[in-house]
Symmetry: C2
Subunit: 204 residues, 2 copies
């Protein structure tokens, strides 16, 4: 989601080669966020530390807040693919649950956005960026359910919203819990159990 074009491709890109890369910008930003906080860091600061003009920053990221999600976006982007690969023998709620658990296994641990959340004072735009991710994931899951369940649309909407909310909540709780803990995927799986139990009768 965040990056515009990360791949220097395989070979022989026609035009001028990139001076920077998205990871360079992420690194510079991470340092600055720790030093000065998210709100205390301007896009200009980040670009300057990365040795790049401000305008160039926006060639790599659509918004400053995308930096916070740079490490989790690739995992989230896998959801549609993962859902499509779910075997049809699984019920819709089971498939949704398994897919979200699989995503949890792909996440970097801990996700930078959740760790730095306490340290760096993340502003309203950071929250908006988080919501954007939630909605994207939600849409992917909702599409999948619509194709595999004959339940009423409103019911599918509700289950989708609940599942995403619980998965996100479980992830945050897992990060906040600190060091001695099992895999995140297990935590997400356990958290989704009551939701799937409640909806199994109406969705499947």
């Amino acid at each position: 989601m965040g990056t515009v074009n990360d791949s220097n491709a395989l070979r022989t890109a026609p035009g001028r080669p990139r001076r920077s890369s998205s990871s360079t910008l992420v690194d510079s930003a991470s340092e600055l966020f720790l030093e000065q906080g998210y709100d205390g860091t301007t896009v200009d600061d980040i670009a300057r530390r990365a040795g790049v003009a401000r305008a160039t920053f926006f060639n790599y990221f659509r918004a400053k807040s995308d930096l916070l999600w740079a490490d989790v976006d690739p995992a989230l982007a896998e959801l549609p693919r993962i859902l499509d690969l779910m075997p049809t023998r699984l019920s819709p709620t089971e498939a949704a649950r398994a897919a979200l658990v699989e995503i949890a296994g792909l996440l970097p641990v801990p996700p930078a956005v959740l760790v730095e959340r306490s340290t760096t004072g993340a502003g309203a735009d950071a929250a908006a960026a988080g919501l954007e991710r939630l909605l994207t994931v939600r849409l992917a899951l909702r599409r999948f359910l619509g194709s595999r369940s004959t339940a009423a649309p409103a019911v599918l909407d509700a289950f989708t919203a609940a599942a995403i909310a619980v998965a996100a909540s479980a992830t945050v709780a897992w990060v906040d819990a600190g060091s001695p803990r099992g895999p995140l995927a297990n935590a997400v799986d356990a958290a989704l159990a009551p939701v799937c139990a409640g909806y199994a009768a109406v969705v499947d």
Copy 2:
């Protein structure tokens, strides 16, 4: 949430009387949003139509996006009170469900923010404002559950997130469904049934 000080009080306010009021600004804004869309309307436009300086606008609202939620914020603000009044004979999940249903009954129908959502192109800041509401409501419900249930914190977090998400989803679905429909409260109540069923065993 939105308004800073609406009451012209009963009498004998010491200082200079208010030239405007938050509802005046909301009215001007609503007109402009319909004419030009949300993103196409500047704070300056709104203030000018209301006959007020731009800086004055921010005496009444903390952000432009608060205008969208001006009509539902009062209802949402009632949640803590409503929760406190829930009889203790209700289980935690039942109380939460009843409280959310009661909030639904307090909402203006249809809420401007949901209706205009399609018409006016609402930008990222509008989404962020929505998330802010969700988090506030979530916090209130979470506090209540923590005081009435002995379940693990992570479980309460999950149920809270699910309940809020489902209630919001049901509200949106109800608005989108159009004219022939029962009360919103009924729709929210029905939507919450599976969630409460799934969590009754672990929370109550």
